[in-house]
């Protein structure tokens, strides 16, 4: 009990009053904490999932790249063995290491899932300076120990080594053999030793590595005579440039020397948009949480306006009142953030699987076995939770300081002030909409700016919600009166009369529902676009493809003879071929799709976005020109009229771009080339797959059966009918959007909690008013009816308002965010179902929120309610 008049911070007495308030309103307090916790949890979990996937990727990249500064790559078919000898013997480049690598899987035993391993074929004699865990490097303070005998590893076919921990997990001992699936066939690997990484980082990095001698790796993968790449360590400066020049001089024309850092950077950039989108969605959840905080604190201030007035009259300063309110918010923030961090880590464990799945489907193979929990993420999450809560509490805290001493600011006065403030809020909202629109309209590819615009638009709509509510209630008063009599009018009037509370609740509900509408419409439109695109691009009846490695693009190669044999089968009318290859380039590898088909076939399967069909297609088929996919044009800025530079087997060549076509297969973009052009520049007649058009009347299933029996045995070819391939494609699409769908649900859940708490608080606060009504003869049933119709009205208002807002958000996500992130043209499609769902969601949330207060009010005796204050 110290002298409080001069203290900046409230005295213990004030704190006690504060505490008592919190304890007496556990629902309100608990829901506020939950709101913060959920917001923080979603943000933290997404960040953890992103960080973990990235870290796992960086570690495994470092593990296989080692200390290489440069990599020599060779495009389709890799590099010949002799390229390595020329580098080290003729060019005298001492620090060079050949690599043959691929992903192989160990089929699961006893119902366990199969496990993917990164097969790394190396030359142990060259490894010294590169991968410390393989060679041990002089001067390393920590050395990795291993029990590997080079004799068996080099001289026994199929010999390999695994990290000791991985061997244990697989139940393997040195000397055991195990089966791996590689390029569609099963091969035996003999475990001749184990690696014992010395530190945790290396242990994680190599956890999925199967190391073999380069000879055994070539044999196992069926790639004898070819290298995937040659790692180099080249010093910086003049000596390095001299070495690089010597290297280029002895390498074949198709080889390229790329900086190793580019590889990591490229993959980093590949997933940047994806990660940024996830982060933005997670922030949406936090924004929904913010409305909840704002609402809770505002309510607590309004509820105690008498107490605060009294305190002010007793000499409590404005600053102390301000500190008191913010102090309460801080308690909520701290508790909520603490719970949120814990929940975030738990949630992150689940989300990291979804994120990893999507990355594997879309970008590259990464396997995350452990969730990385950097303290930075936790600190950020806590700072965000606490900062956002305090920010949301700022307005009500300032509001509280406005209470004049003793003068009990009546509810009506407050409402009057709010109504006066309504035009100001609406103007601010309109301003924010304009600002958001301006940000979105800004040219350029700045995704961050687009998201800022999106948030401004959301906030703008939130501020416009009260005025829209007032308007809507005026419109509804008459029909409601007709429908429900006096009670209906009362309900509509009540919503407007207590706008200070209802406005925030409705705004929160609008935001939450419109986010679900927006994300839902975006996903549905995207899916519909993809479905249409699949219809168009998958026209053949049967598709045969070589096994591709997970996340890989090119996959194994098929002998063209196999396609010729398939063409000769009964019922097959026409065969189109496809070859997918990755052409290395200094910025990032270019994905080249080579199509062998007739002129009409190609016109049917591809739709041009830019370019005239009568010019583009002839140039493509016979004129040596290429087409680029829409994301490619977007990402690289290379469109019609420009040229794509590719490293062919005869050196660099510029291919003119005849047009841009729609494609949704990859956000990295694709260069489309005719088989004739390809064979002119690359000596690579093999195929990645082919498609068959059947003769009229032929039975698809019978041809598929026939194919499986005749050519199916060839190195694990996949043979799919049109129907099943479309199904698989859509399954992958749905899988990649699973994480987005989950975030949409989480944001909706946060908002639902917010609405529940604010509406409940609102109705509980009306105890006195309802007591009066009860005392004047209103029956419990009528109270029930009044309350549920009022919350139902609010739900209806929110539902109706959220439809235009949701569609606006969807349009922003489709036309701005997605375009800028991935470069896709998506046709926005709005089904009635999603709008009805929105309405139903808003109504259900609101009515549900009204149930408990209605139940309580109808049970309370009017006398008790009146005595409440």
């Amino acid at each position: 009990m110290s002298d409080s008049s001069t203290a900046t911070f409230p005295s213990p007495l004030l704190w006690r009053s504060s505490l008592r308030y919190l304890v007496r309103h556990p629902w309100q307090f608990g829901l506020a904490v939950l709101g913060v916790a959920l917001g923080v949890a979603v943000v933290v979990s997404i960040d953890l999932a992103n960080v973990s996937a990235r870290r796992a990727f960086t570690l495994s990249t470092e593990a296989v790249t080692g200390k290489a500064t440069h990599q020599v790559v060779g495009g389709p078919g890799g590099l010949p063995d002799d390229a390595f000898r020329r580098l080290v013997v003729e060019a005298g480049i001492e620090r060079a290491a050949p690599v043959v690598e691929d992903y192989v899987s160990i089929p699961g035993r006893d119902g366990q899932p199969s496990r993917t391993l990164h097969l790394l074929g190396v030359d142990p004699f060259s490894e010294g300076p590169f991968r410390a865990y393989l060679s041990g490097t002089p001067g390393d303070s920590v050395t990795d120990r291993a029990s590997v005998d080079l004799g068996p590893l080099l001289t026994r076919p199929g010999a390999g080594v695994l990290p000791a921990a991985t061997a244990r997990e697989l139940g393997l001992r040195v000397g055991d053999s195990f089966t791996v699936r590689a390029a569609g066939t099963e091969r035996r690997v003999e475990l001749t030793g184990t690696l014992e990484p010395a530190n945790e980082n290396t242990r994680r990095a190599v956890a999925d590595l199967l190391v073999m001698d380069i000879a055994a790796a070539q044999e196992l993968l069926g790639r004898v005579g070819r290298l995937d790449r040659i790692d180099l360590i080249i010093p910086e400066g003049a000596e390095g440039r001299r070495l690089l020049a010597r290297a280029v001089a002895v390498l074949p024309a198709k080889a390229q020397v790329l900086a190793a850092s580019g590889r990591t950077r490229t993959t980093e950039e590949m997933t940047r948009s994806f990660r940024l989108n996830l982060t933005a969605l997670s922030l949406l959840a936090l924004v929904c949480g913010l409305f909840l905080i704002y609402n809770t604190i505002t309510f607590s201030v309004v509820q105690r306006r008498g107490l605060i007035g009294t305190l002010r009259a007793l000499g409590v300063t404005r600053r102390e009142v301000f500190a008191l309110v913010l102090g309460e918010a801080l308690v909520v923030a701290l508790l909520g953030s603490a719970v949120g961090l814990g929940a975030g880590v738990l949630l992150g464990r689940g989300l990291v699987r979804l994120v990893t799945q999507t990355i594997n489907d879309l970008y590259f193979v990464v396997s995350v076995r452990e969730l990385t929990v950097p303290s930075a993420t936790l600190l950020e999450g806590a700072a965000l939770g606490i900062g956002a809560t305090l920010l949301a509490a700022l307005v009500p805290a300032l509001e509280a300081t406005q209470a004049p001493p003793r003068a009990v600011l009546s509810r009506s006065a407050l409402e009057a002030r709010l109504r006066q403030a309504l035009p100001r809020a609406s103007a601010l909202g309109a301003g924010l909409l304009l600002l958001g629109g301006g940000l979105l309209a800004l040219p350029g590819e700045l995704l961050g700016m687009s998201f800022a615009g999106l948030f401004a638009v959301i906030l703008g709509f939130a501020l416009l919600a009260p005025v829209a509510t007032v308007g809507l209630m005026r419109l509804l008063r008459r029909p409601l009166g007709a429908l429900l009599g006096v009670l209906g009018k009362m309900a509509a009037n009540g919503v407007v009369a207590s706008l200070s509370r209802t406005a925030v609740a409705i705004a929160a509900l609008v935001i939450a529902v419109s986010v679900t509408v927006g994300v839902g419409v975006m996903i549905a439109s995207f899916r519909q676009t993809v479905v249409r695109w699949l219809e168009m691009s998958l026209q053949a009846d049967v598709f045969v493809s070589a096994p591709t490695r997970a996340g890989g693009f090119s996959g194994a190669a098929i002998d063209p003879e196999v396609a010729r044999r398939a063409a000769a089968l009964a019922g097959v009318a026409q065969v189109n071929s496809i070859r997918r290859v990755e052409i290395p380039s200094p910025s990032s590898p270019v994905r080249l799709v080579v199509i062998g088909t007739t002129a009409t076939g190609i016109r049917r399967s591809f739709e041009l976005k830019d370019g005239r069909p009568d010019k583009a297609w002839p140039a493509f088929q016979d004129g040596g020109a290429v087409l680029v996919s829409e994301p490619f044009a977007h990402r690289t800025g290379v469109g019609r009229g420009a040229a794509v530079r590719l490293r062919t087997e005869r050196g660099d060549r510029d291919f003119p771009v005849a047009g841009v076509y729609y494609d949704y297969a990859s956000d990295r973009g694709i260069v489309l080339m005719s088989r004739r052009t390809y064979l002119r520049w690359w000596n690579d007649p093999s195929l990645s797959g082919f498609s068959l058009y059947l003769a009229p009347g032929a039975d698809v299933d019978r041809v598929v059966e026939l194919l499986r029996r005749t050519i199916g045995a060839e190195r694990g070819l996949s043979i799919q009918s049109n129907r099943s391939l479309k199904k698989i494609s859509l399954e992958i699409f749905d899988r990649t959007f699973l994480i987005t769908g989950v975030l949409r649900l989480l944001a909706g859940f946060v908002a639902f909690i917010g609405v529940l708490s604010s509406l409940m608080a609102l109705q509980l606060e009306r105890a006195r008013e309802l007591g009066v009504l009860r005392a004047n003869g209103m029956t419990p049933g009528q109270v029930w009816q009044l309350l549920t119709s009022q919350t139902g009205l609010m739900g209806l208002a929110a539902g109706l308002l959220s439809i235009p807002v949701g569609l606006t958000l969807a349009a922003i996500m489709i036309y701005v965010v997605n375009r800028r992130s991935f470069g896709w043209t998506i046709r926005m499609e709005v089904g009635p179902q999603i709008l009805l769902e929105a309405l139903a969601l808003a109504l259900a949330a609101a009515i549900l929120a009204g149930l408990y207060p209605a139940f309580r009010m109808s049970r309370t005796s009017p006398a008790l309610a009146l005595r409440e204050e």
């Binding site: 000898r85 080290v88 120990r145 291993a146 001289t155 380069i214 000879a215």
Partner: protein, 378 residues
Amino acid sequence: MILVSVTLLAAAFLARSEQPLTPRASLSVATTLRAANEQGYARAIEPRDFRFPADHGPHPEFRTEWWYYTGNLETAEGRRFGFQLTFFRSALAPDMPARESAWATRQAWLAHFTVSDVNGGRFHSFERWSRGAIDLAGARAEPFRVWVKDWTAEAVGSQAPPMHLAASEGDVEIDLVFQPGKPPVLQGDRGLSRKSAEVGNASYYYSLTRMPAAGTVRLGGERFAVTGLAWMDREWSTSSLGRDQAGWDWFALQLSDGSELMLYRLRHQDGAADPASSGTVVAPTGDARHLRLSDFQIAGSGEWRSPRSGARYPAQWRVRIPSEELDLKVQPLLADQELDVSFRYWEGAVEITGTQRGRPIRGRGYVELTGYPTAEHR
């Protein structure tokens, strides 16, 4: 002899310590060569017929083999250099099934390259590993060539010698041609060189003890035209050191009267010389006479401690061969000629002064010291 084989060195070290020689383990090729399985390889048990040039080429049926070049060089102005270029072959297994990949091999190769810059007071040493596949490393008899990556020794014409040696690393390079000097000297008993009392612990061993050398040495930006004398040792075996042998001191001395002296003293753990220690005197005419341990005395004195390994090596020697009335003082041209490679050992250029039958005699040569305990293994 030239006893330096990685295998032997490793075996010597490992016999003393359970820890690997260098803590560089993992897939490290260095540790591999300690695998001591001798089953399935040919052994050096009795004298054989040497045929040239066939025996300049590889003998893959034996586990290990080396081509050992050392020599002393100087410029017209008297600037002195020593060099060593050595190629080691070591089999990983006695046999291997037929394989598809051209990378498949059972032969591992190692090469050491050193230049002693006597006037500059610096010793440069380098190491290269390679597999014996896709022509990265290998050896052949006709035309003679042995190479590990771009370090090579090869016949200049159809026959060797003359031989051309070339090796470079960074700004250190040698480019030398050796002319034929004396015919090959078969060491030990007609080329069978015993390394311990156990039958089969022996190698086939011949030497070219005096090859006039000329060419260039490059150090940094400077290129020096040099002449001098080179020595080649060729040795192949499957096993050689006995269990209790710790290492050896080996001497290749070229004397001013046109004779050469090769001596090796195998040291036991307790410092005593193994009875299998031996040597050869090569007369100016090329006639060779075998020396047994009782025929010579080597007394080391002084000490040089390696700042890298902590090993303490003798700083000079007195070599006496009573039957030849030879009394020599052998002194390193540089104290620090320890190779900083996977298995550290001392191998360096030496200067010889002394008397023969009372008359002064001079000479140059190379000395190799192995099995001196390093700080961590003592």
